[in-house]
C-alpha cells in the first residue's frame, strides 16, 4: 500500500499561498491512488519555481536545466521504458527556453506525462514576461505590454500530443484525476495547470481563474476524441476557460516503434559481451 507519507519530501521553498502547493498535492495523490511506488517513478524537471517540485515530493529525481527537462526525460525513458516518467516545469521553461523540445517531443509521442505549471509569468526570476502572459501584460521587461500569447494546448493537439488536458491548482481533486488520466495514458500527455503566482502575477489570481474555469466534463456532447472540437476549446481563453481532458488519441509511442526495445528496457540488457565482431568483419 502506497500512502501520502511515501511521497512526503523536503519542505517547499515556495511563497505561502502559491498555487504550486495544490499541484504538489494533486500529483502525490494521483501517484498514491495509482499505487505507484516512489522508486518506480522518475520526475524530471526544469528550472523555475515549478521545477523545484520534485524535491518536495519523493521519487527518483533529475532536476535538469532551464528548458531541458523534456529531452532528459526522453533519454531516461528510452533507457528504461519501465519507468513512469513525470516531467515538471513552468511556462517559461516549457514554452520559451524549451519550446523546440516541446514541439518535437509531442511529435514523437514519447510515453510520459508533462505537467506545465502555467502561472503566466516568470516566478523564480521575479516577474518577467512569459509566452503565456496575457496580451498587454506589463512586466519588468515589457513596459509596453506583452505580445499575444502562445496557445500551448492547441499547439499540442496540432503537433501530436495524445492526451491534452488542463487542470487548476485551485481544484486539487479534479487536477489529481486529470493527472491520473495522463499517467495512465500510453503516449505523450500534456497537462497544463493554471497556477496562481501570488507574488508576481497580480492579474491572473486564484479568484480570476475561479471566476472563469468550467469543466469540459460538464459539457454534454463534448468528445475528447474529436480533434476539431478539441482545437476550438483549446483556443478558448477569456471569460471562460475550459478545464479537463481536451483531447485523447491512440497512436504508437516512440518507444513502441523501436525494434531494440522489444527485448525489454535497454538498461536491463547486458553489455558485457556485445557481438560487435560481426560488424567488424564487414570492414574486410
Amino acid at each position: 500500500m502506497v500512502s501520502m507519507q511515501d511521497y512526503a519530501g523536503l519542505k517547499p521553498a515556495w511563497c505561502p499561498g502559491c498555487g504550486n502547493f495544490g499541484i504538489l498535492r494533486a500529483l502525490n495523490k494521483a501517484l498514491v491512488q495509482m499505487e505507484l511506488k516512489p522508486h518506480e517513478v522518475l520526475m524530471v524537471s526544469g528550472i523555475g519555481q515549478a521545477g523545484k517540485l520534485p524535491h518536495y515530493s519523493r521519487a527518483n529525481v533529475f532536476n535538469s536545466l532551464h528548458g531541458r527537462a523534456l529531452p532528459v526525460a526522453v533519454g531516461a525513458r528510452i533507457a528504461n521504458s519501465e519507468l513512469t516518467v513525470i516531467v515538471v516545469g513552468g511556462d517559461g521553461d516549457g514554452y520559451a527556453e524549451g519550446g523546440n523540445h516541446f514541439l518535437h517531443t509531442m511529435r514523437r509521442n514519447h510515453d510520459m506525462t508533462y505537467l506545465v505549471h502555467n502561472n503566466q509569468i516568470y516566478g523564480l526570476t521575479k516577474g518577467q514576461a512569459s509566452p503565456t502572459s496575457d496580451e498587454g501584460f506589463v512586466t519588468r521587461t515589457t513596459p509596453e505590454g506583452t505580445e499575444p500569447p502562445l496557445i500551448p494546448l492547441a499547439l499540442a493537439i496540432l503537433t501530436g500530443a495524445t492526451y491534452v488536458a488542463r487542470g487548476f491548482a485551485g481544484d486539487i481533486e479534479h487536477l489529481s484525476t486529470v493527472i491520473q488520466g495522463g499517467i495512465a495514458h500510453r503516449g505523450f500527455s500534456l497537462i497544463e495547470i493554471l497556477q496562481p503566482c501570488v507574488t508576481f502575477n497580480k492579474k491572473n489570481t486564484f479568484q480570476w481563474y475561479q471566476e472563469r474555469v468550467y469543466k469540459l466534463d460538464d459539457e454534454k456532447d463534448y468528445d475528447p476524441e474529436d480533434k476539431r472540437q478539441a482545437q476550438a476549446r483549446a483556443e478558448e481563453w477569456g471569460d471562460r476557460i475550459p478545464l479537463g481532458v481536451f483531447y485523447r488519441h491512440e497512436r504508437a509511442t516512440y518507444e513502441e516503434r523501436q525494434p531494440a526495445l522489444r527485448k525489454g528496457p535497454l538498461v536491463r540488457q547486458s553489455i558485457e559481451s556485445i557481438q560487435a565482431k560481426t560488424l567488424m568483419e564487414e570492414f574486410r
Binding site: 529525481v61 533529475f62 531541458r68 533519454g75 528510452i78 535497454l266 558485457e272
Partner: protein, 572 residues
C-alpha cells in the same frame, strides 16, 4: 618498398568517392596498406572533388602529395592536378570529357562507350574507369570482381563485372606500357579498411553503447548514420533529435538511467551542447560526446579539416568539473579510445569528449583487426542494495575519498536516485549552504586525480636524443611520424612527441620528453597553437616554433619535413 598514390578526381556526383573506396578496398584486400583521404566541397553535385589512395607494402598513416596515377573524370581534374604527378605519372581519363593534358602521359578511355558496349548502360562507366585503372597497374581484376559482386546484387553485379573487364581489357590492350609502375596482389589482407568515424561507431557499439542521439552535422553524421544502420541488428536506439541541445540532454537522461549513451557533432553543434556538458559534470552523469572538428569559426569550411577546438573543449562550460578529452590519432586508436571513453565516463561519472576531426573521420586506413579481448567494460562503482546498503540510505552524491559516489539507477532498486543541475547535497537535493557547496565541488574535482592516472603516456618516436622534437596530437600522427622518418633519413636528429590522450594532461611525461630534446616545434592544424598553449600552462615550457596550418587541408609528411628543414616556423 612498393608504393603508389592514385587520385580519383571529378565533380561531386560523378562517383569519385565510390570509385576511390572500391579501389582502396581492392588494394587492401590484396595485402597492401592503404591510406586514403578525401577532398570535397560543401555541395552535392558539381564543383571539384578528389579521393587520394596511397598504396604501400609498408604501414602508412598519411597521404603523399605526389601522384602516380590520376584518374580524371573531367577536364578540370586534369588541369588542377597534373602538376602533382611524378615525372612518370599517368593520367587516365574519360576520352569524351577530357580534351588534353599538355605533356602528361594520357590514357584516354572511352568510358561511356565501353560501358554501353559491355553492359548496355552508361551507368557503369565508373566501373569501366575502375577496370582501366587496374589495367594500367596490371593489377589482377579478380578481387575487384568479388567486391563488385558483394556490392551489387544479381544483374547489376554482372553488368559491373563486364564493365570492369571492358576497362581493364581496353587499357591492357592499348596502353600496356603506359605505366612504369605495376602492382600485384601481395597476399592476404592485412586487416580491416575503414575510416575514423566508422571505428568510433564500432568502438561505441562494442563498448555497449545502447543509445545515441544526434543531429546531423559534417563530419559527425557518419557516426549517427552507422549506428542507425545497425540499430535493429545490434539492439540500439538511435534518435535524430530536433537539435543538438536535445541530443546531449537525451544522452544525459539515458546515462543517468544506466545506459551507455553518446552523441556526436561538430563545432557549431558542440557550442549548443556546452550547457549540457556542464549538466553532466555537476550531476555526475556519464556521457560520451564526439566533437568532429572542422574549420571554424561558426560554419567555417564544412567539409575541411582543422584542430581548432582543443582549447574550447577543454574549457567549455562555466564553472569547473572534471572531464577527459581523448583525441584519437589513427583509425585503430579511434576504436580503442572510444571504448576507453565509455569506461572513463562511467568510472568517473563525468563527460568524456572524443576529439576527432574531418581528416580522421573521412580517411580510410588499413589497420589490423581489432582485438576484442582488449574491449572490456568497466562500469565503475555501482550501488548494490542489501548488506548495510539500505535503499533508504542511498545518496547519489555521497562524499568519498576518491570523489566517486556509487551509482544507482532509477527504478532498478528501491533506492531513490536524486540529482540536480543546481548545487546539491549528498542526497542530490538542492542546497544554499556554502560548506556543502564546497564539499561537493571538492568531491567532484577529486575525480580529476583518478582520471589523471588513467591517461596513457604520449607516444615518442624517432631519435632518442633529438635535436628537434616535433610535438603533435590527434589526427596528424601519421603525417608527423613519416616526416620524422624523412628527416632522420636526411641526417637530422628528429623525434616525435605525440599526444592522443589530452586531458587530464600527462604533465610529467611531456616535461620529461621535452627535456630530452633541444628544440621543440609544435605542429598543429590551427592558427593559434592551441596545444602549444596547453603545454605551456601545464609544464611552463614554451615552444621554440609553431608549425600551423589552417587552410582546411591536411598536413603531409613532405610539407612538414620541408618546413622543418627550412626552419619555417612561426615564433611562440
Amino acid at each position: 618498398m612498393t608504393e603508389a598514390t592514385i587520385m580519383v578526381a571529378g565533380e561531386a556526383g560523378q562517383g569519385v568517392q565510390s570509385i576511390g573506396l572500391i579501389l582502396s578496398k581492392i588494394f587492401s584486400r590484396g595485402g597492401y596498406h592503404v591510406y586514403s583521404d578525401q577532398d570535397y566541397e560543401s555541395r552535392v553535385r558539381g564543383g571539384h572533388n578528389f579521393f587520394r589512395i596511397r598504396v604501400s607494402d609498408e604501414e602508412t598513416g598519411a597521404i603523399d602529395e605526389t601522384l602516380n596515377v590520376l584518374l580524371a573524370l573531367n577536364q578540370d581534374s586534369v588541369d588542377l592536378h597534373r602538376g602533382e604527378l611524378v615525372s612518370e605519372g599517368v593520367i587516365i581519363c574519360d576520352k569524351e570529357k577530357v580534351t588534353g593534358a599538355n605533356g602528361s602521359t594520357l590514357v584516354a578511355v572511352p568510358l561511356g562507350e565501353l560501358a554501353e558496349q559491355a553492359a548496355g548502360n552508361r551507368i557503369v562507366a565508373n566501373t569501366v574507369a575502375l577496370g582501366a585503372c587496374l589495367g594500367l597497374l596490371d593489377y589482377k581484376p579478380e578481387a575487384a570482381e568479388t567486391l563488385l559482386k558483394e556490392t551489387f546484387g544479381g544483374k547489376a553485379a554482372e553488368a559491373n563485372v563486364t564493365a570492369l573487364h571492358a576497362g581493364y581489357g581496353f587499357v591492357r590492350e592499348n596502353y600496356a606500357d603506359a605505366s612504369p609502375l605495376q602492382l600485384q596482389p601481395r597476399g592476404d589482407q592485412v586487416g580491416l579498411l575503414l575510416n575514423g568515424h566508422e571505428a568510433v561507431a564500432l568502438g561505441a557499439i562494442a563498448a555497449g553503447c545502447k543509445f545515441m542521439a544526434g543531429y546531423p552535422m559534417t563530419p559527425a553524421s557518419s557516426i549517427l548514420e552507422y549506428m542507425a544502420a545497425n540499430s535493429e541488428r545490434m539492439g540500439l536506439v538511435v534518435l535524430q533529435s530536433e537539435d543538438e541541445i536535445a541530443a546531449i540532454n537525451m544522452t544525459i537522461g539515458a546515462g543517468f538511467a544506466g545506459v551507455r549513451a553518446m552523441t556526436a557533432t561538430s563545432g557549431s553543434g558542440f557550442c549548443l551542447m556546452v550547457e549540457g556538458v556542464g549538466l553532466a559534470g555537476i550531476t555526475e552523469t556519464p556521457i560520451v560526446v564526439v566533437d568532429g572538428q572542422r574549420p571554424g569559426p561558426a560554419v567555417g569550411l564544412p567539409t575541411r579539416t582543422e584542430q581548432g577546438d582543443l582549447q574550447f573543449v577543454l574549457h567549455a562550460h562555466h564553472g569547473e568539473f572534471p572531464r577527459a578529452v581523448l583525441a584519437p590519432s589513427t583509425v585503430t586508436d579511434a576504436f580503442y579510445l572510444t571504448v576507453k571513453a565509455f569506461n572513463l565516463a562511467e568510472e568517473y561519472q563525468t563527460p568524456v569528449i572524443l576529439l576527432t576531426d574531418h581528416l580522421l573521420a573521412t580517411s580510410y586506413q588499413t589497420v589490423p583487426a581489432f582485438d576484442f579481448r582488449r574491449v572490456t567494460v568497466h562500469r565503475g562503482d555501482l550501488y548494490t542494495p542489501g548488506d548495510g546498503n539500505a535503499p533508504d540510505e542511498y545518496m547519489r552524491h555521497r562524499v568519498t575519498n576518491s570523489g566517486i559516489s556509487p551509482r544507482a539507477f532509477p527504478g532498478m532498486s528501491e533506492a531513490l536516485v536524486v540529482t540536480d543541475g543546481d548545487e546539491h547535497g549528498e542526497d542530490g537535493h538542492l542546497i544554499e549552504d556554502g560548506g556543502i557547496r564546497s564539499s561537493q565541488m571538492d568531491k567532484r574535482l577529486r575525480k580529476h586525480g583518478g582520471l589523471k592516472d588513467e591517461i596513457s603516456e604520449p607516444i615518442t618516436y624517432g631519435a632518442p636524443e633529438p635535436g628537434i622534437t616535433l610535438v603533435s596530437w590527434g589526427s596528424t600522427y601519421g603525417a608527423v611520424r613519416e616526416a620524422v622518418d624523412l628527416l632522420n633519413d636526411d641526417g637530422l636528429r628528429v623525434s616525435m612527441l605525440h599526444l592522443s590522450e589530452l586531458w587530464p594532461f600527462p604533465r610529467d611525461a611531456v616535461t620529461e620528453a621535452l627535456a630530452r630534446g633541444q628544440t621543440n616545434y609544435v605542429v598543429e592544424s590551427n592558427a593559434s597553437g592551441q596545444m602549444s598553449r596547453l603545454i605551456r600552462v601545464e609544464t611552463g615550457i614554451a615552444s621554440d616554433g609553431l608549425m600551423l596550418k589552417y587552410d582546411g587541408r591536411p598536413f603531409t609528411p613532405a610539407y612538414i619535413a620541408d618546413r622543418v628543414k627550412r626552419k619555417e616556423v612561426s615564433p611562440w
